[in-house]
Symmetry: C2
Subunit: 148 residues, 2 copies
DNA sequence: TTTTATGCAAACATTTTGCAGTCAC
DNA sequence: GTGACTGCAAAATGTTTGCATAAAA
């Protein structure tokens, strides 16, 4: 797994040290949610996160806990949520550099990409409109190579 | 109102002539939904569409009808839906050229923009991944000039 | 007259919340 | 022991669907 630059154990350790400083408590549920996000490396729905933790580690995590933890992680800025347009939020770890997505409208495959030219041009666009740029989302929809 | 190149009466007439050809029927509800989308020129939720039709024209349109009509319009390709990230779909007429959006995270103001460089670069990105590009969404989040 | 469209209410899917009990520190 | 976390079930939200009636062609 070389998707992320940091190995999981180091990442988890850093995380667990950081949590109490924010006034919160660690839990095995948080650990396993991070673990499944890290090792699946995919864009998972809340349901999929709970299901995969059960499948891989035989640990039960309630769906409410997943949602609550996702909010917590989003506030900590260690995950990002993505809306593919099918009414379910998908979550991914935010450890790699910013990237955008290609989404296959046939098989729902998600491919990540980065493009410096697009990144830079966004800054220009925001400046033109006197906008204080915080974030952006760029998603390209189409058919992946297997589907056309 | 010079947001769209076509005036409303012409647009509505074209629309009403087109509907029976597809095997469907015209209705006052469809007319008013188009009217409110055209003249508000905004990105409205289903709820807002129904509410504004009542307010402006004192006509009741059921929320189910709005949703069904939105699906119909989307299949006809005369509207586009937009997800700002708050869990509600927003709809806008698709009469102007393709554009993307700047969304203010403070006041929710939506500004449209087009950028040829970004448009072109998307085609290049899609080609690099052997993707058959159908559509794309690009949204820049930040603070508008009134909010920072 | 035939067929589609509408409005209502019920159903649905996803996400959020209240609460009692559990666990972390 | 205190305060945050969890799981469950109930509630809330946005959207869809079934059905009887109304309207269009």
């Amino acid at each position: 797994m070389d998707k992320y630059e940091i190995d999981f154990d180091t990442f988890l350790l850093n995380f667990k040290e950081h949590v109490p400083k924010l006034g919160f408590k660690n839990s095995v549920q948080k650990d396993y949610i991070l673990k499944i996000l890290y090792f699946s490396g995919e864009h998972l729905t809340a349901e999929q996160i709970a299901f995969n933790i059960k499948k891989e580690y035989n640990i039960d995590v309630g769906i409410a806990t997943v949602y609550r933890t996702m909010k917590f992680f989003e506030e900590m800025n260690i995950i990002e949520s993505l809306d593919v347009g099918d009414g379910m939020k998908r979550y991914e770890l935010n450890l790699s550099l910013h990237h955008d997505h290609l989404v296959c409208t046939s098989c729902s495959k998600i491919i990540e990409f980065t493009d410096d030219l697009i990144e830079k041009q966004q800054v220009t666009v925001a400046r033109n409109y006197n906008f204080d740029l915080k974030d952006h989302v760029m998603t390209i929809y189409g058919l992946c190579e297997n589907c056309h």
